[in-house]
């Protein structure tokens, strides 16, 4: 697939990082409109679910614009970012929120302990558990995290990261994938993840 045939759509989760994710695609030479319109979404080749803030507020937004029912019915490659990744799971401990259920498991609060600060904020290292095209070239790379909740490491975890304990940093099952870190703020490593997701050469 050449770049001109790609149509990336950002699913409108209302997060404040929508503009930043859009800018990250713009730096790759790609428009990425924000939408909750079923016609626009069905015409996309790739879907991205960004998000910052609280899981409950983000799910309320998706219920409000119908994306809570539309997203599970889509068939294109889907990438959740940060809270957007957390929403892919069955539920989140944050506000005891029921999520989209596209991946099994429950998102939990990161435990703070002496020397382990929560929120987990800053650049931390990815370690590959399961090599896959989505995480090619990312093993050992430092990427930018800002979060207090995380999904446990399981069979869908491609890369893990550690803040006190290991957690899932990049997940994938079938067409559904997610990054707990912010590719739009992770410099070249972040751009690498996005280009891997789109299946394009840098």
């Amino acid at each position: 697939m050449n770049n001109a045939a790609l149509r990336v759509v950002l699913l409108d989760s209302g997060g404040a990082n929508l503009g930043s994710v859009q800018a990250a695609f713009a730096r790759l030479g790609m428009a990425a409109p924000v939408s909750s319109d079923p016609a626009v979404i069905s015409n996309a080749t790739h879907l991205v679910l960004p998000g910052v803030g609280a899981a409950g507020a983000a799910m309320a937004r998706l219920r409000g614009n119908g994306l809570d029912r539309l997203i599970p019915a889509t068939t294109q490659p889907l990438l959740g970012i940060c809270i957007g990744m957390q929403l892919l799971f069955e539920s989140s401990e944050e506000g005891d929120t029921t999520c989209l259920g596209l991946l099994p498991g429950r998102v939990r609060k990161l435990p703070a302990s002496p020397g382990v600060r929560v929120p987990h904020m800053g650049w931390n290292q990815l370690r590959t558990r399961r090599p896959a095209p989505l995480v090619a070239g990312l093993d050992g790379e430092n990427v930018y995290f800002v979060h207090s909740y995380a999904a446990p490491v399981d069979e869908n975890t491609l890369c893990e990261c550690t803040q006190g304990e290991p957690f899932a940093a990049v997940v994938s099952r079938g067409r559904v994938s997610g990054a707990q870190f912010h590719p739009e703020r992770s410099s070249l490593a972040g751009a690498r993840l996005l280009t891997n997701f789109l299946g394009i050469a840098v």
Partner: protein, 255 residues
């Protein structure tokens, strides 16, 4: 392992980056976008922009340059200055800032911190604390520190305010040690250690960096998560690649 962050601080006034000594005598050091890109290319982990005129002049942040920076750079950045409400914060975050930092308005109305945390999540909410040791040996907070004419000492103890701010929902604390700011004699390690002891969220050291050893001391002796500096970077005294090489050589994890 979570790496220690190096954060150039860009004081913004009238659309340009300026630098003062002990919060006074500001001179222009360059254009916002040009410096943001330069620091990104040099390996800065994050940038902080202080709109130093906003709070003293009683106005909000001009979001046009926030939008330009957000499109330009691919590392996180925080915007501070004049954010007094959830609505103003929403404009700055919507323009593409990753975090917002509140200082004087949070001292005047601490509930602002809780409102911001509720609206955007604690990870977006940084509380900046300008602090100075007084004759009785206590560290106390200042407000409107960006404007010498209006800068004002408060009765609030710095350490009490840091605890209150966390309880209200601060996701990160930046402590500006005013006594050491701009003179490059080293961070105020004693104050940073005292703050670290009561700070469960990420803590950022600010004020006094002059050489690599000062950063190393803040990380080693005060266990801060990040160190912020301005003049050493603006004036080319300590290039970030050299600083990071020095820290790495001492076994301090950096990106």
């Amino acid at each position: 392992m979570l790496t220690r962050r190096i954060i150039p601080c860009l004081d913004v006034r009238d659309g340009q980056v300026v630098k003062g000594v002990r919060f006074r005598d500001h001179v222009v050091v360059g254009a916002i976008e040009q410096l943001a890109l330069r620091y990104r290319d040099e390996g800065a982990d994050e940038l902080v922009f202080y709109d130093i005129g906003a709070s003293p002049e009683g106005r909000g942040v001009d979001t046009a340059w926030v939008e330009r920076v957000a499109r330009l750079i691919d590392i996180p950045f925080c915007v501070a200055g004049g954010i007094r409400s959830v609505e103003q914060a929403r404009r700055v975050l919507g323009a593409g800032a990753d975090k917002i930092s509140v200082n004087t308005p949070a001292l005047e109305r601490p509930a602002l911190v809780a409102e911001l945390a509720e609206a955007f999540g604690v990870q977006c909410v940084v509380v900046g604390v300008d602090s100075l040791r007084e004759a009785d040996g206590e560290w106390r907070v200042r407000r409107n520190a960006g404007d010498p004419a209006r800068s004002e000492a408060l009765a609030t103890r710095t350490l009490d305010w840091i605890q209150d701010a966390q309880r209200l929902g601060a996701g990160e604390i930046v402590i500006n040690c005013m006594g050491s700011d701009g003179v490059r004699g080293g961070y105020d390690i004693a104050q940073l250690r005292a703050a670290r002891a009561i700070c469960a969220v990420p803590l950022v050291a600010s004020g006094g960096a002059g050489e690599s050893a000062h950063f190393a001391a803040a990380f080693r002796e005060a266990d801060v998560d990040a160190a912020l500096a301005a003049s050493v970077f603006h004036e080319g005294i300590l290039p970030i690649p050299r600083l990071k090489a020095d820290l790495r050589a001492q076994g301090i994890e950096v990106r």
